[in-house]
């Protein structure tokens, strides 16, 4: 695999050059926190961050996205007909995305790109995007990526993976898309052997700094109804206030709602992020609600990520270990603890909850 060496100057100049062919999106500090947004001409991604407060999933999957437009004007021939709103997405690159957030797109793709149906909105945006990852030299204490099918230098879902070596970056070219971006940026210097081993060294060291883990090996084999009926859900969900922060900040949560918004005689059909934490998510027209209590809803979130997904796709858990939901939950519900309780269920039964 090709590895490039990009010194600080080549980095800045390369991004400026690449901006001629790509819309650049990168981490930018706004007020207290970093978030991913389109970079202004000449603006550089601010890489002095651990990770963005919210995941960059909106880059591919905006929180609100028009799907169709319509007119209700009775004098018009095309009244009441839905016309597809096609977002033109020129090639763009997310520069500085963390490996966990890039891997998350790979998991979400399983939902939106299936053998018999494809979601054109998600897929067109994903395919137009090049992912330039930045390995995590200093992971957070709440990161548990290495046991969540990911890692601080994980490559899945990335087109280029960079390691910050101080004076320069070493960049692993992972895909033809990554190759094309490097070409557009004019990054051609091959990394010498020293830089290559420095890259490996950074990756190993970063993995060693991960101190928080989940156990997942039994999740697949424990019968689904046993886990569903486990008595710990009462305790797990007790403090939840169903605020939805976990699902909105999660890079792998994809659930959505569809709503029509009319103003005067015209309107749009929108797709919007939704959350399994909200009672309306499953409320029937009759008033019946199959997930009518917060216990149902909290259980759904964890069962989906840690059991249903695992069984359905056999691709591990629907979590990349970014730790956002752990850090942001206002009542300290911790997916690591719940995952370990679920995973331990077969062995320990109801006997004890693993702290």
């Amino acid at each position: 695999m090709r590895m490039l060496l990009i010194d600080r100057r080549a980095w800045q100049e390369g991004l400026k050059r690449a901006a001629g062919q790509y819309g650049l999106i990168g981490p930018v500090k706004e007020k207290e926190f970093h978030s991913f947004r389109p970079l202004k001409p000449g603006e550089m991604p601010d890489l002095a961050f651990q990770n963005s407060r919210l995941s960059p999933k909106h880059v591919v999957y905006p929180q609100t996205e028009p799907m169709f437009a319509y007119t209700l004007d009775e004098t018009r021939e095309d009244r009441h007909l839905l016309k597809e709103v096609r977002r033109e997405i020129p090639p763009r690159a997310v520069v500085g995305i963390r490996p966990c957030d890039a891997k998350a797109f790979v998991l979400v793709r399983l939902n939106f790109d299936t053998p018999d149906v494809q979601d054109p909105y998600w897929l067109r945006a994903y395919e137009a995007t090049t992912f330039i990852g930045m390995g995590c030299n200093a992971p957070c204490s709440s990161c548990f990526c290495t046991t969540a099918g990911c890692g601080p230098f994980h490559e899945e879902g990335l087109d280029l993976l960079l390691a910050d070596l101080g004076e320069a970056f070493a960049a692993k070219v992972l895909t033809p898309k990554g190759e094309a971006f490097a070409r557009a940026a004019g990054w051609t210097a091959e990394a010498p052997a020293g830089a290559q081993s420095a890259f490996q060294e950074r990756a190993r060291a970063a993995e060693g700094r991960i101190t928080s883990f989940v156990q997942t090996e039994h999740l697949k084999s424990i019968p689904v109804n046993d886990l569903y009926n486990a008595s710990f859900w009462e305790e797990v969900s007790f403090s939840c206030i169903n605020c939805g922060t976990c699902t909105y900040s999660c890079p792998t949560c994809w659930c959505f709602d569809i709503q029509d918004e009319t103003r005067g005689k015209s309107g749009v059909r929108l797709r919007l992020w939704d959350s399994c934490m909200y009672p309306l998510f499953t409320l029937h027209g009759s008033g019946h609600n199959p997930r009518g209590t917060k216990l149902h809803r909290v259980r759904q979130r964890f069962m989906h990520k840690l059991k249903y997904f695992v069984e359905k796709y056999d691709r591990g858990i629907q979590c990349v270990g970014c730790g956002r939901c752990v850090r942001l939950c206002p009542v300290n519900i911790d997916i690591r603890r719940v995952c370990n309780m679920m995973n331990g269920f077969a062995v320990s039964g109801e006997a004890c909850a693993i702290p």
Binding site: M67, F68, Y70, L72, R79, H80, L81, L82, E84, N111, F112, T114, V117, Q118, D119, P120, L123, R124, V224, N225, Y228, W254, C255, F256, D257, I258, Q259, D260, T262, G267, R269, D274, C276, F281, T282, L283, H284, G285, S286, H288, P290, R291, H296, Q300, M303, H304, K307, Y308, F309, E311, K312
Partner: protein
């Protein structure tokens, strides 16, 4: 890439008030582009999203049969925003249909078998589709005995009353119509709840008999034990579920029961399948 959220444009061709409380109306649609009718090729048991610009979409079982050509038909209960608006619409109005969606009753497995259809209230729509499908001269020979147990609160709440009467007169289908109660002295059929009539009238259980059951939760709750008592195996009891839906294609995440999506892996499940999954419906 075909956009799976794009409905086919349709025109309302006829509206029929089905029940005496006027809460149920049947809408017959024709496709604006005749080619869409072929693209909408469906099986009995599937559903579609009825789509009204400015209001939204509702998932509704297809009440017409694949053997009926030139139109598709849906019977809709007036409940929420979209269905209430639909009830104000008239012949000639244009809207959309997205589908067909979901799976269907297991027609291949049921070939050569006896079928008992058990329905209650307004959940009779895809059951009507199934009956019309099986009674089609091309298909009738492919099934054994056909029984229909169908109940509503009162005679005026039964759907498709003219067709029910016509089926009563046939000798290749055994109808067991019932109402919870009636003060009509001329009422010729049963009085009693669906589970009780099922106990008396359902054909004997066996490898060669399937039960398709569709109705309000309370009816299902009391009919399942009856079928079990009669000896119907769980993989011969077929049910069709409803859940709140948006996308209809297994993506939006709300209608799942365990790892199965009611919209895509269902709505039709055997009781055996349902017993193996959390029953959040």
């Amino acid at each position: 890439m075909r956009n799976p959220y794009q409905p086919y444009p349709v025109r309302i061709d006829a509206v029929t008030v089905e029940t005496e409380d006027r809460n149920l109306k049947t809408f017959r649609f024709t496709f604006l582009d005749p080619g869409d009718e072929e693209r909408f090729a469906y099986r009995a048991g599937q559903f579609a999203e009825l789509s009204i610009a400015g209001k939204g979409e509702i998932p509704i079982g297809i009440a017409s049969s694949p053997t009926e050509k030139g139109f598709v038909m849906f019977t809709v209960n007036k409940v929420g925003l979209v269905s209430s608006h639909l009830h104000t619409m008239r012949a000639g109005d244009v809207m959309g249909i997205r589908g067909p969606l979901g799976n269907w009753y297991p027609w291949e497995r049921m070939e050569g078998k006896n079928v008992v259809i058990i329905g209650g209230g307004f959940a009779f729509t895809t059951l009507r589709s199934s009956i019309v499908y099986m009674l089609d001269p091309q298909n009738r020979g492919r099934f054994g005995e056909i029984h229909v147990i169908y109940g509503a609160r009162t005679p005026g709440m039964l759907l498709y009353r003219e067709e029910l009467a016509a089926w009563e007169r046939r000798d290749d289908i055994r109808m067991h119509i019932t109402v919870d109660a009636t003060n009509d002295p001329g009422w010729k059929y049963h009085v009693g709840f669906v589970p009780a009539i099922t106990e008396k009238k359902a054909p004997p259980a066996g490898e060669d008999t399937f039960a398709i059951i569709c109705g309000p939760p309370i009816m299902i709750k009391f009919t399942l034990p009856v079928l079990e008592k009669l000896g119907y195996p769980n993989d011969r009891i077929i049910m069709s579920l409803e859940n709140r839906m948006k996308c209809g294609i297994g993506m939006c995440g709300r209608c799942n029961i365990g790892k199965e999506f009611v919209c895509k892996d269902g709505p039709v499940f055997t009781l055996e399948q349902l017993n193996r999954t959390p029953r959040e419906y």
